[in-house]
Every structure is written in C-alpha cells, then in structure tokens.
Amino acid sequence: MAALHISISAEKVFSIAGLSVSNAMLTSMVVSGLLIAFALWVRLSLKRTNRPTGVQNLAEYIVEALHDLVQGVTQNTRKTEMFFPVIATFFLFILLNNWIGLLPGVGSIGFFEGEGATKVFVPYFRAGTADLNMTIALGLISVILTQFVGVAHLKLSYFAKFINLSNPIQFFVGILEIVSELSHVISFAFRLFGNVFAGEVLLAVIGFLVPVIAPMPFYGLEIFVGLIQALVFAMLSVVFFNMATLGHGDEH
C-alpha cells in the first residue's frame, strides 16, 4: 500500500506574509469565486418576464426549491425571509465544495515536497469540506447564528432556556441545553467532514485496487452523498434556527 497517499489534514501549498494557505482553503476560495461569478452572471442577465430562459430559469429553480425547503420547516414568511439567505448559502457552498472534490485533477495534480524518505505529495486542490477546519467553521457559524436568531426573536427570554433558577431540575436541564448546543458544533463538523473525507478515501482505495471501470459506481454514490450532506446541513440548520425562535413554553 506504499503508493496509496491519504492525508487526513489539508496540506500547506504556499504562504502569503506568514499566513499559510492550504489546498482546502484554495479550493474553497475557488468555490466562493465561482458562486459570486454565477450570482453576478444571473444578476446581469435578469429580465422581467413571465417566461424565464437559460441561466435565469436555472437560478429561479434553485432559489424556489431552497425557499420551499425553508418555508416547509418554518411555516412563517417572516422567518423564512430571515433564514433563507444563510441556509441557501450553506447549501450551495457545501454542495459545490463536495462536488468539486470529485473533479479529475482535484487531489491528483500537485507537487512533491521534501527529499528522500520525507518526500510527500501535496495536491494543489482538495475538497474544502474534506478539511476539518472548514467544517468546524461552518458548524460554529451555524450554532452561533442560532443564538443570534433566538435573541432576535425572544429577546433576553431566550437565555431562560440555559439559565433557569426556578427549581433544581430546570437548572440542570439548562446545563444540558448548553452542552447540547456545544455538541451541535461537533456533530455538524464531524458529519460533514466524515462523509466527504470517507468518500475521498473510498475512491482512493477503490482506484488503487481496480483502476478502471470499478470506481465509476462509487463516483455516482459520492455525487449522491455530497447532495445529501449539503441538504442535511441546511435542513438541520433551519430546524435549529426555527427551534431557537420558539419560546420554552410552546416548544412542547
């Protein structure tokens, strides 16, 4: 198994003024650039018509589908308008990151670093979500935004969920709530990272054992997993946002 190269962490490609840029960072910047370019393209080709064509049609389809997803959970137009931009960004960013990791050349084009026994292969690109730093960042954003959403809707009574001195049982329930918020970060991060990274390992191993034809069904599987994981992340975020907007009394 000497030729099989798997690295669990993203590798440094180059550094700008002491800040090292890893291959996962590079890919996620490319993904951000692509999304921004797509948004600008859609904006410039936008026409007021009842029969949208081409790219406008595609963009409207994506926006409508995501809007329906959020609306289906919140059942409230005001909340949907507040959550939709964040949820749609999560979904599109994670989806594109997952899928770009499957492109030929991502993870296979790179350079060698070091000499002799310490020589390691460093690819230029690596799927952004196959880096634990990225998924923890996404999980933190989601969980911190949940607190902001809760405060925005319930004002200070939101914190009654965490700190409640009315009786001892409520006090310990509050501690459990704090722990569960923290564990959401970990479960968000590891679910996404595990699925995407496991997919990469699976493809690497299958490609190593049987290089031709055999990896093809697994690519299909990975495209599906990428979509499902993006959907799960967006869906869970919107469910947690929605739960934070409900008071303690009407939660049950």
């Binding site: 798997i6 690295s7 669990i8 479960s187 590891f190 679910r191 990272f193 595990g194 699925n195 990274f197 496991a198 390992v201 499902i228 994981q229 959907l231 799960v232 869906m235």
Partner: protein, 71 residues
C-alpha cells in the same frame, strides 16, 4: 499490530448500531410506502434524511478509526 486491531475494532463495533438503525428506518419506510403508495416521494425524502442521521454515527466511528490510522 495493536493499532490495526483498534482501527478494525472501532469500525466493527461502531457500525452495529447504525446498521440496525438504518435497517429499521428502511423497513418502516417500505411498510409505509406499501400502505400508502401515493405518499412515496415524501416518505422517501424523509427516509433518506433519517438514514443520513443514522449513518452519521457510523461516520463518527470511521473518523475515529481514520484518525487512529493516519495520525
């Protein structure tokens, strides 16, 4: 040697629960589709979401074993 054993052990034990869970999810979903075929698409979406959550537990085990193996 002990490291390899730990890696295999984590995967072996860690996948039992999710396997049973996913089996139950799909069995119930099939039952529901059998009873009410019109709702098949709605059941399927929720089934896949549920399976993704159950699968996540197996993925945690996989992450642990990958960390043991490669770090």
């Amino acid at each position: 040697m002990s490291k390899e054993f730990a890696v295999a052990f984590v995967m072996g034990i860690g996948t039992i629960g999710p396997a049973i869970g996913i089996g139950l999810i799909f069995a119930k979903a099939m039952e529901a589709i059998g009873r009410n075929p019109e709702a098949a698409s709605k059941i399927q979406t929720n089934m896949i979401l549920g399976a993704a959550f159950a699968e996540a537990i197996a993925i945690y085990a996989l992450v642990v074993s990958l960390i043991l193996k490669f770090v």
